[in-house]
Symmetry: C2
């Protein structure tokens, strides 16, 4: 167990929904929830340095165990005093289990799942590797992120019932092994993963089982893997009521979700944190986030209509990019393939997400979350 006495506290809940505000406390500081967790796969949130992240207000970011295990290797990061020091990041960090990448990035014809773990080949050099729950936890303990995730088997979508069930059962078995392997962790917290695809019976079973184990937090995996948008909402409606609200209250993280509308649906149902590559990946393509549902909350700065536009990226945005640069300049940088383009767009998009979460937390405090949701989604 980690050093802060109270890992998670709920400060208040929305009157009209399950939305709640709270705080996760780690030895690297606090995370106000609901929180957005940007992804920094290779120990860097692509194109930004950690000073940028601090200015943006990023509370925590997500590093990928699979990537860091392959390069530079968890032993090197441990030797260099862990991920925080390596990446010069003073605030909390999360690491995933590697499970998702093993299945999705390893060459799928070469991925072999057995009772103990998964054999896979590196997407970098084809070399062969074997992950077990124990191995994943060992790597994550060496990386030293504040929050670790238990090794799970995320079924692809679509998959038949029997496959999804066996992936869930494997996830449950591996969850217990992950917990046992992590017993000697210090200042690190471990989240268990709920699986079960889009099968109601499996999701409910998985929620109850994972919630029954001594995890510090709970994660919902296996959504945002290609299913219809309303399926994620259904999964949350099955799972969330089964997670303890009173005794043994723990933070709930939704893995890989981050579209604006999904965020509102998840927070409404009590999710405390979410990670997603959406704002950073879109940014690098020139898609800039704005509060405009008509345009699906984004526009493409590459379009020639912005070539002479002196206005900032976001109309009311107070981020450094919007205060200093015009749409025309960003358009120029993207057209010229200048490296600065990716940074400025990523900066704006992550700032936009942080501000959205500030507004979400404020709205919950005021009991007006559903009003905010309506304002954003019903434009």
């Amino acid at each position: 167990m980690g050093c802060p006495k109270t890992f998670f506290q709920v400060f208040s809940s929305d009157r009209n929904s399950q939305a709640r505000i709270g705080q996760i406390e780690t030895s690297h500081g606090k995370i106000l929830t609901p929180a957005f967790v940007p992804v920094g796969s290779q120990a860097t949130v692509k194109s930004l340095d950690t000073d940028d992240l601090l200015k943006i207000g990023t509370q925590v970011f997500f590093a990928n165990t699979y990537h860091l295990y392959l390069r530079p290797g968890e032993k090197i990061i441990e030797k260099l005093c862990g991920l925080h020091r390596f990446a010069n990041w003073p605030r909390p960090l999360m690491s995933d289990s590697g499970g998702f990448q093993v299945f999705s990035l390893g060459r799928s014809d070469l991925v072999k799942i057995d009772y103990q773990g998964v054999t896979f080949r590196s997407h970098l050099d084809g070399s062969k590797h074997y992950f077990t729950p124990e191995k994943s936890i060992e790597i994550q303990m060496k990386l030293g992120a504040d929050i670790m995730i238990a090794f799970d088997h995320c079924a692809p979508y679509p998959a038949d019932f029997d496959y999804v069930r066996s992936a869930m059962e494997r996830t449950h078995r591996w969850a217990k092994q992950s917990l046992a392997a992590a017993q000697k962790r210090k200042n690190q917290f471990l989240f268990g993963v709920i699986q079960g695809g889009i099968e109601e019976s499996l999701r409910k079973k998985s929620a109850q089982f994972i919630a029954s184990l001594a995890f510090d937090g709970l994660a919902i995996g296996g959504v945002a893997v290609g299913e219809e948008k309303n399926e994620m909402v259904k999964v949350l409606d099955w799972v969330m009521p089964l997670l303890p609200k009173e005794k043994n209250q723990r933070p709930v993280h939704l893995l890989g979700v981050g579209e604006i509308d999904d965020i509102f649906q998840a927070v409404e149902r009590g999710v405390d944190s979410l990670d997603c590559v959406m704002p950073t990946r879109l940014g690098r393509m020139g898609w800039l986030l704005i509060e405009d549902r008509q345009r699906d909350f984004k526009y493409d700065i590459n379009k020639s209509q912005f070539a002479q536009d002196p206005s900032p990226v976001g109309d009311d945005c107070r981020c450094q990019v919007c205060r200093n640069f015009s749409k025309a300049y960003l358009h120029h940088l993207f057209r010229a393939h200048e490296l600065l383009a990716y940074r400025l767009a990523t900066y704006h998009n992550l700032f936009f997400m942080e501000q959205l979460f500030v507004k979400i937390r404020e709205s919950i405090k005021k009991g007006e979350f559903l009003k905010l949701k309506e304002k954003w989604l019903e434009q």
Copy 2:
């Protein structure tokens, strides 16, 4: 003529060489000389934002007329209130004449030089364009850089005497036209370019002719184009004594030069500023600058020997990169092709250059420039 009353002042000269310290004053602030001028071809010093440049201590950067004319176009930049506002850069800017790029980047089989100007095709889309001295100045006035350069014909290397002479004569003719075209400039200064290849008679003639015109400053072009290193020193030895030291004293800029040893040779002979892509281009390749002549002032962070090295990039460097990150982290970022790699390396290299020039200016003040040169070059 520009608004500051005294465009250029020499504060003091070295006892034992022609090295001098001074100040160029523009309506966007002062440049202490000798000064290093990084290159920001497309209105951005590649990978950095202008906040980075301010922290580094960059006094001025160089934008390329050829690039900005083609994309986004000088009219758009003028409409957006000029290059300073467009790029969010509050300090001085220089623009070049476009001449060098027209000859080197335009498809050479399609470049046609006539009495009036040069026809060339864009390296971007093959479209046809025509530059004259008047056109170059017109573009530069729209860009609005503090210091402009007269349109010149830079002969390639090697080239026979007759070609170099005719390029020089064309440069002289175009110099007068550039001056005439720039008569109505406001808050902008114009430098004439001395050409003449590595021919003593031509260089001396060019120095005398260009110095006789009413330019605000003088630039030496046509070096660092492939000739032997000692040829540049010879050119400076021919040219520099012919430039007025007492009456009508003007700053002397050396175009495209920036290897560490060349910098010392140039400053020793009285050069006040130099621009070069070396530190930024090397940085993007993973070459990091250090004070070590044995290693040609740089090392390649990609090498596996740095994979576990916890020490900073530069031993005594106080830049933000060296204070916050290890060689191992930079090695990792380069190996992983992470965008942050290019920024951190560029940042360090430009900081290194600024610090070198701080030391150069201090040494001149103390009359110890040659001692500093010896320390750096005779290790």
